[in-house]
């Protein structure tokens, strides 16, 4: 399941909803991405995530489907926020459920690598010195390339 939303999410509530009543789940992996103030002199005041409504949902559904083809997953959740966020705020949650831990771990890593390079979101930082768009990182392209 995928969701794109402005509001916050609670990791425990989301995982609880995925696992409640199930006795076939051996492994649950969650990844939460948060707004980080790297605090190198020029403090981050806020971060705004712009997205492409419609295409975002399609890309997230596509990557969920791809993960389910590659690994025997019992469930998948992707929640991605947009709008203005503050340092410490949650941005994204990926959760994977499987029988065995390696499948859940690999699928969660795959989902994040693909999100980083394909999901149409753009981060704009408001720092003390002004505004700037976050630039894409080459290391994210390399991380995504290992799954091809």
């Amino acid at each position: 399941m995928i969701r794109v939303q402005r509001q916050d999410f609670d990791v425990g509530t989301e995982i609880e909803a995925l696992t409640r009543g199930r006795t076939d789940v051996g492994a649950v992996v969650s990844f939460t991405g948060q707004v980080r103030d790297d605090a190198e002199g020029d403090r981050l005041k806020s971060m705004t995530l712009e997205h492409f409504p419609g295409m975002t949902e399609r890309e997230l559904m596509r990557v969920e489907e791809e993960a389910r083809v590659r690994w025997p997953l019992l469930d998948v959740l992707i929640v991605h926020r947009h709008g203005e966020l503050l340092p410490g705020d949650r941005i994204v949650l990926v959760a994977t459920l499987s029988h065995h831990r390696s499948d859940a771990f690999e699928a969660a890593l795959f989902l994040m690598d693909y999100l980083k390079t394909r999901a149409p979101f753009w981060k704009r930082e408001l720092r003390e010195s002004g505004e700037r768009w976050v630039e894409a990182r080459g290391s994210d392209d390399e991380a995504a390339a290992r799954w091809r």
């Binding site: 712009e50 492409f52 295409m55 994204v92 999100l115 394909r118 979101f121 753009w122």
Partner: protein
């Protein structure tokens, strides 16, 4: 043809969407970008260097060699930075 712009592409062009009717020799997403560049400084600033830009056609990632036609929705944006 409907065009969408996001992030700094949107800011440089000064709008988030518009409807255009490019000439017949605009056959690909790359042709479309080159044609838009002629429209003024904001477009040139946003789209002259296609190494810095990505394109989606009908909400799917595409290459600049991909064909575009009258009914398509074409989006230009920087490399994505979500997650």
């Amino acid at each position: 043809m409907k065009l969408l712009y996001f992030a700094w592409v949107r800011q440089k062009i000064g709008r988030s969407e518009e409807v255009v009717d490019p000439p017949a020799n605009v056959r690909t997403a790359g042709d479309l970008a080159a044609w838009l560049v002629l429209r003024g400084e904001g477009y040139a600033d946003a789209l002259a260097d296609l190494k810095r830009v990505r394109v989606a056609i009908n909400q799917e990632h595409a290459s600049f060699a991909a064909p575009v036609g009258a009914g398509d929705e074409v989006a230009f944006f920087p490399p994505v930075t979500g997650g």
